[in-house]
């Protein structure tokens, strides 16, 4: 493999010279590039529009060991932006093809593909990586990765985050001519759950989800509208006001839903959904992914001032970018040292469990919680349920010593246990 002379000279200039715009603790030297190439491990989550761009940028930026995970296979509709794929690749695993093509372009690089769902990998898998970079298209997937990254975080006895346990996440997202890049340092910057209000209810869907892995009735309806209609009605534009058109759409959406075992396609939903596909453009993915790759490079080398902490891009009306320093929610259920709660000492354990499931921040994360104090279970589901059941009717003052107790809350739906800082206090009349 031949590469031009001075292939890494740009990177060397960045990493081996002191400068004025560097991160705190930057130590220039050739060891940095060696670290990037030999020891640093990066995980790219998603091998689609953002993932292909991320792999290219990270590979060209000197990272030598990159893993990529994606459960999807390649569809024809991906080819207008997922540039590592060709028509002949349709049906193959995105992660595998992306990895192979990236290694073809950059000598001395290892890209390891994982054709799997992110939920199928355990915390020990994710623990291997220095930085995890997200090229995802859904809020649920982001929240899962957020919970994973935050699960590694510990707090010092003085309440400050233990910086050695901070697992950085870099997240990118795009939609047409708009996008964002953000840096998540658990315990330091806000995590996803701290800033959930940034995400309005999703009403648009990525095209690749519609084409290959529909999961909801809306995906099936969009498939009928954006793929099937033009195929079978080349000269006629779809008009939602024409009854025959709408019924055709509904019938096709139902067929698709049946094929994938999805419930819930109704005529009413079809009518409500037939608008607004996300246009997906290579150039917006390029901007956002490159920003994420640069932030990853800066996180690992400290060679320049890092993004703090959210960059928004809009190309609709001119070119507009805005960097915002969002703040953590100190009571965040996912990344804080514990969600504060108060209960009277005479409260029973059963009632406390009830309070937990009704709690505004915790409630949505819990279905059937188990509780413990340190390693001592108060109420456990499963094997110890019978043994701990009598505790349900006991009062808290019999079970724990107050006034402040750190509870560990566990639940099947959680990636890792949550903490609650419970204060035992008589309610004021």
């Amino acid at each position: 493999m031949n590469h031009p002379e001075g292939r890494w000279s740009g990177l060397d200039n960045l990493l081996t010279r002191p400068g004025r715009f560097v991160g705190p603790g930057f130590e220039p030297g050739p060891e940095l590039r060696d670290f990037l190439h030999d020891d640093c491990r990066i995980l790219v989550v998603g091998a689609g529009g953002l993932g292909c761009e991320l792999l290219k940028d990270l590979a060209l930026s000197g990272f030598g060991s990159i893993d990529v995970i994606d459960m999807d296979t390649i569809d024809i509709t991906n080819l207008n932006r997922q540039f590592l794929f060709r028509t002949a690749d349709v049906g193959r695993s995105k992660a595998e093809v992306a990895a192979a093509r990236t290694m073809q372009r950059v000598a001395g690089l290892t890209v390891t593909p994982h054709h799997a769902m992110i939920q199928d990998k355990g915390l020990d898998f994710y623990a291997q990586f220095h930085v995890i970079v997200l090229g995802l298209d859904s809020l649920e997937a982001r929240r899962h990765m957020n919970a994973v990254a935050c699960s590694f975080l510990s707090y010092n006895p003085d309440g400050t985050p233990d910086l050695a346990t901070v697992k950085p996440l870099v997240d990118g997202g795009t939609e047409g001519l708009r996008g964002h890049a953000r840096v998540l340092l658990p315990g330091v910057t806000p995590c996803f759950d701290c800033t959930l209000w940034l995400f309005p209810p999703q009403t648009k869907f990525p095209l690749c989800t519609i084409a290959e892995t529909p999961r909801s009735p809306a995906h099936c309806i969009e498939y009928a509208k954006i793929i099937l209609w033009p195929r079978e009605h080349q000269d006629t534009a779809f008009d939602p006001d024409i009854e025959a058109h709408m019924h055709w759409m509904f019938a096709r959406a139902q067929e698709r839903a049946k094929e994938f075992g999805i419930q819930g396609v109704t005529l009413q939903l079809t009518q409500g959904v037939v608008k607004n596909i996300i246009p997906a453009i290579a150039s917006t993915n390029a901007i956002v992914a490159a920003s994420c790759a640069l932030e990853t490079l800066k996180l690992v080398t400290l060679a320049s001032t890092g993004l703090d902490n959210y960059l928004m891009y809009s190309g609709v009306d001119g070119v507009y970018t805005l960097t915002t320093q969002y703040e953590r929610d100190p009571a965040c259920p996912v990344c804080s040292a514990g969600v504060p709660m108060t209960a009277p000492p005479t409260c029973t354990l059963r009632d406390l469990l009830g309070l937990l499931t009704l709690h505004p921040a915790l409630g949505r994360l819990l279905r059937e919680p188990s509780l413990s104090v340190g390693s001592v279970p108060l109420y456990a589901r499963g094997v110890f349920e019978e043994e701990t059941r009598p505790n349900l009717d006991r009062q808290l003052r019999e079970l724990v010593t107050g006034p402040l107790v750190e509870l560990t809350v566990n639940d099947k739906g959680l990636v890792a246990p949550l903490k609650v800082q419970l204060r035992l206090q008589v309610a004021e009349e």
Partner: protein, 316 residues
């Protein structure tokens, strides 16, 4: 709203149309698919812009750059690691781009990037991505004479820049109407763009130092200095800025030192080229379709501020 353009009928036309549907949802297909774009300079930035507009589905792209592959910009990802070192980068890029989207007519034109006799009249839009001020200046003059929309751009070290000269440009911007369910309303707009020459001669003294981006000063200095875009350009730019400061009677601009370290390498960091490439490509799509406001008239980027700045220099 019609999503597909019937002119793309091929034997397996059904599938080929499907691949473009996501892009065409936001840009009128007929204008995009008849756009003929000329890209001068197959640098890392050139490769990024070419990739983006080829994937989006322009009609044709012509590449001009006779640099042999063995001496290519290492950030040019279109050229494979085991490419034949004696082919030109234009040829290697064209081959890869044709694979990426067989619907687009991609050609490599022989000859050096900054040559005369380029058939600019055969194209609808020109991009000079060489980063060489002499080439940019010549391309700009030729495009103005032929009435062609013109973009330029470059990336060096940790900085990048883009420039647009679309002459008298008319376009439509869609705005959401009042109320929570406001229907989209189209607003007709127009902008008069200054030429590269005017942009390089704009009055710097009238602005406070804080509002003059160091990358713009670098472009001014490069336009003045004879060493152009070579290895010593950073130092020459720093010198020229110091002289500008003196002329304007200002305390020495701290930017000069920063600029030197930013620009000492000839090539841009690959991720910087990717950001610039995305910005330029989105603006090409806007210019061709007449929908959305293109940059007016510079986009200036450095990884230290991370976000990039749009700035207007020069009177139309």
């Amino acid at each position: 709203v019609r999503v597909f353009d019937l002119s793309w009928s091929r034997s397996d036309g059904r599938h080929l149309r499907d691949r473009q549907c996501a892009t065409t949802a936001s840009h009128p297909p007929c204008r995009l698919s008849s756009a003929k774009v000329l890209i001068v300079g197959c640098t890392g930035l050139g490769a990024e812009v070419a990739k983006n507009i080829v994937l989006a589905g322009v009609g044709s792209v012509t590449l001009v750059d006779d640099t042999p592959c063995a001496q290519r910009d290492p950030g040019n990802f279109l050229v494979l690691a085991d490419a034949d070192g004696s082919r030109t980068v234009a040829q290697a890029c064209a081959a890869m781009l044709r694979e990426m989207n067989p619907l687009v007519d991609v050609q490599a034109q022989a000859g050096p990037p900054a040559g005369s006799g380029l058939e600019r009249e055969a194209h609808g839009l020109v991009l000079d991505l060489t980063g060489d001020p002499a080439s940019v200046s010549a391309s700009s003059v030729a495009c103005r004479a032929a009435g062609l929309p013109f973009f330029a751009g470059g990336s060096r070290g940790t900085i990048g820049w883009a420039f647009a000269d679309l002459g008298e440009h008319r376009f439509v911007v869609e705005r959401r109407g009042p109320g929570p369910d406001g229907a989209k309303q189209a607003e007709a707009c127009s902008t008069s763009y200054p030429s590269w020459a005017r942009a390089m001669a704009a009055d710097v003294g009238g602005r406070s130092l804080k509002r003059v981006h160091p990358v713009y000063l670098m472009l001014r200095a490069q336009a003045l200095s004879p060493s152009g875009a070579g290895e010593g350009a950073g130092a020459a730019a720093a010198d020229a800025i110091a002289r500008l400061d003196e002329e304007l009677g200002r305390p020495s601009s701290l930017q000069a030192e920063a600029l030197e370290s930013m620009t000492c390498t000839a090539h841009g960091l690959p991720a910087v080229s990717a950001v610039l490439g995305g910005i330029l490509a989105n603006d090409v799509l806007k210019a061709v379709s007449g929908r959305g406001r293109p940059m007016d008239n510079f986009f200036l980027y450095s990884i230290a501020d991370g976000a990039g700045v749009v700035d207007r220099w020069g009177d139309a």
